[in-house]
């Protein structure tokens, strides 16, 4: 995020993204921090934490250990936990202090793997990047390590990439999976909602990757490069847009070519705020179902390699505030917490679409699913 931030809370960071990605796996995961970073994740970045038995821990890093570079203390704690909990995987996750003192998270992971015989992944997360970067790092590491070259492809098999509770409520995730099933598409692996080690291993059996958030983009590019699996970048938002999305899915499957649907540039009176892929998909839905043009206000950075128009990089609070109050927009779709940036004199209709990565459990609004025609209902209800 940009420098001075007066009104908004900070968004979910990279280490939370790694934790979120591996949440469903039978692992022992450790955020190498004193306590606050782990508190961010368990308290505010993981809607599934309550009632779960996921073994994600804090290393309890202390000043003297940081000064002396005493990694052995953490290593011994990890070995003890692994002996007690019998994980299939061990994950080490960096935070700001390890970044400052140059802790070699990958090197420590290799050491632990050698001592335990259990696969161990290390991540140099820093708390200075967004959750989407952490999810992408985790997915890539899992794929590079565990995804096997398939003996056969599943012709109608698809992976979901970037399906994270930090962007999607449980209803939206279910709707997305239901949309696949209803259209005779077989879900091979879901990164990272309901992920299993088996699903990671067989991910390359899919014939198409469906990228549904920015965190899925780098894994999709990796799977395309290594296994030749094409990808489609779109969430099916809106009734007509979903029909077009389905056509695009079959086009990608049949032609085995990647596709990034996008709109032509035109003047917009609607602004959508959030993850770039979500914004692009809302933009496509508004165009296909209502004939409306929208600008994408990307809050977590932009993907310059993707073709498209009306893409704004709103990288800090000042830019978001200027944009929502610039007088150009009559309607804005975004997390309800972004309402606090709208000046009293700005006349705009705001549609609440909560994102856990922004407002966590503080949105004051239940999660919303905009998959398929639910988007039409969402707009009709709130208009």
């Amino acid at each position: 995020m940009g420098k001075l931030c007066v009104k908004l809370p900070p968004f979910s960071p990279d280490y939370s993204g790694v934790c979120s990605a591996i949440f469903d796996l039978n692992c022992v995961a450790v955020i190498h921090d004193a306590s606050g970073c782990t508190g961010n994740y368990t308290g505010y970045d993981e809607p599934r934490w309550y009632g779960s038995k996921t073994a994600i821990f804090c290393s309890g890093l202390r000043e003297i250990d940081a000064i002396l570079g005493d990694d052995e203390k953490m290593i011994q704690k990890v070995l003890d936990a692994a002996e007690s909990l019998h994980p299939e995987l061990i994950v080490l996750i960096g935070s700001p202090v390890p970044m400052v003192i140059g802790t070699d998270m990958k090197g420590i992971a290799a050491d632990i793997e050698a001592r335990t015989g259990i696969p161990c992944l290390g991540f140099d997360t820093t708390g200075t990047r967004y959750y989407s970067d952490g999810i992408a790092q985790a997915c890539l590491a899992l794929m590079e390590r565990f995804t096997q070259t398939p003996e056969r492809k599943i012709p109608n098999g698809v992976n979901l990439l970037g399906l994270t509770p930090l962007d999607f409520g449980s209803g939206a995730a279910s709707d997305l999976k239901a949309a696949l099933a209803q259209n005779s598409l077989e879900l091979v692996s879901s990164f990272c909602d309901g992920l299993t080690m088996e699903a990671v291993q067989k991910a390359a059996q899919a014939s198409l990757n469906l990228v549904v958030s920015q965190s899925g983009l780098r894994p999709a590019r990796y799977l395309e490069k290594r296994f030749g699996i094409p990808f489609l970048v779109q969430i099916p938002i809106g009734k007509s847009a979903q029909e077009k999305w389905l056509e695009a899915v079959h086009s990608c499957l049949n032609g085995q070519k990647s596709l990034v649907p996008h709109t032509a540039g035109e003047d917009a009176e609607i602004l959508v705020l959030g993850d770039e892929i979500l914004c692009r998909s809302l933009q496509l839905g508004l165009k296909a179902d209502f004939g409306l043009a929208a600008d994408c206000g990307c809050l977590f950075g932009t993907e310059p390699e993707l073709p498209g128009a009306n893409i704004l990089n709103l990288e800090d609070e000042q830019k978001i505030e200027e944009t929502v109050n610039c007088g150009k927009y009559r309607q804005i779709i975004g997390d309800p917490m972004l309402r606090m940036l709208i000046h009293p004199e700005t006349e705009v209709d705001f549609f609440d679409l909560p994102s856990y990565c922004i407002s966590s459990k503080m949105s004051g609004t239940p999660p919303v699913s905009c998959i398929g025609e639910r988007f039409n209902a969402f707009l009709a209800k709130t208009r």
């Binding site: 931030c5 900070p10 921090d33 309890g60 700001p96």
Partner: protein
Amino acid sequence: MNRCGCFESTLHYATPAHGGWGVVRMGMLAPESYQLFICPFACGRHGALGALKQGLKDRISYYYVDQSDIINGYDDLILNAVEELLRALKKRPRAMFVFVSCLDDLIGTDCDAVEAELELRHPDIQFRMAHMNPITLGSDEPPPIGIQKRIYSLLSKQPERDGGVNSIGNLVAVDPACELHKMLEQEGVSTLRHVSQYQDFDKWQEMARSSANLVLMPPGMKAAKEMEARCKIPFRFFPVSYDLDAVAGQYRGIHEFLRPNTAPAYDVEADRQAAERAVAHAVKKLGGLSLILDSSAVVRPFSLAKALDKYGFTVHRIFAQEVIPSDREAFEWVTEHMPKVEILQPEHNDIVKFDRRFPGSLSIGVNAAYISGSEHVVDLFADEGLFGYYGIRRLMELMEEAAETAIDLRALIEDYGLVV
């Protein structure tokens, strides 16, 4: 604890019920103060969302540093960030806490020089460099102690004393129903002051005119020592106790501290008898119901266990991550005299197995309730508002209420807005 009776150093597990006030909420106790965090954006998320939950977000801002800033040092950036922030604020605060995070302990920002320069540039505002650095937990100045020290350092030495007395360390004022207020009044004390009672910075300065500080929670000790040195206000430590005899001793101690060599002006006997009746009633009502005690509910869980055992309750389990010095004697008593009591560390990595479920229990504290799956819960956090015989009476009432009802633990935890 392991079989040797030692507390183990393991990976830390954090339940959804783990946490407390956090330094942001504590710092907000200082009236008309503002907080600016200089840190990677990630460090601010829990504090900002916690502040939103508490309705305090309009008093906190962030200046995010990136890897380049950290490498180059950000002393100058702090000065510029404060300028930028003050331009953005509609009202100038009277005091500003400039927080840095854990990583700052390792890069050597000259906090004293920055503080001095800020006060030079903005003489109408008192600046305090503050630390949200849990990396110092276990040291002599972890964040809860450091922030209290800085809060009370904003009180200026006053030329005269008055008849008031301060309570320090406790984050919530002692409940008005507590006999401590009556006792102090009859001892000639005009009022028992607490920082939470003030909205106005100037009015708050009257705490520096008080004649004495009663330290009711351990994290306030360092602040009280500094106030003694700087403002000449003497202090004594009276930690919250649920033991009838200990409370009697505390009231004698308070009297001797405030009015040495005089006869007590207030007779606490009626309050003691009321507490005794409440204890007897609760013992009868709860019968043999197993109790689980939690250091998130009471600062000294072993002292509470000892008292409850003496009263005839059945203490089954105690959750404590460590033993604080003022609870050490009780801990040793419990291990010697209550050998059947389980002592568990709530952050131990094996807690994640959730293999110590005990639905038919009553937990005093939400963290214990979450881990144990207790149907009955006393939703007490850090002895809030309790002291003396009133504290015992109120705890008995809460235990009786909890025994009669099942609580929505999830709603309770989320409503409290716990911050690690």
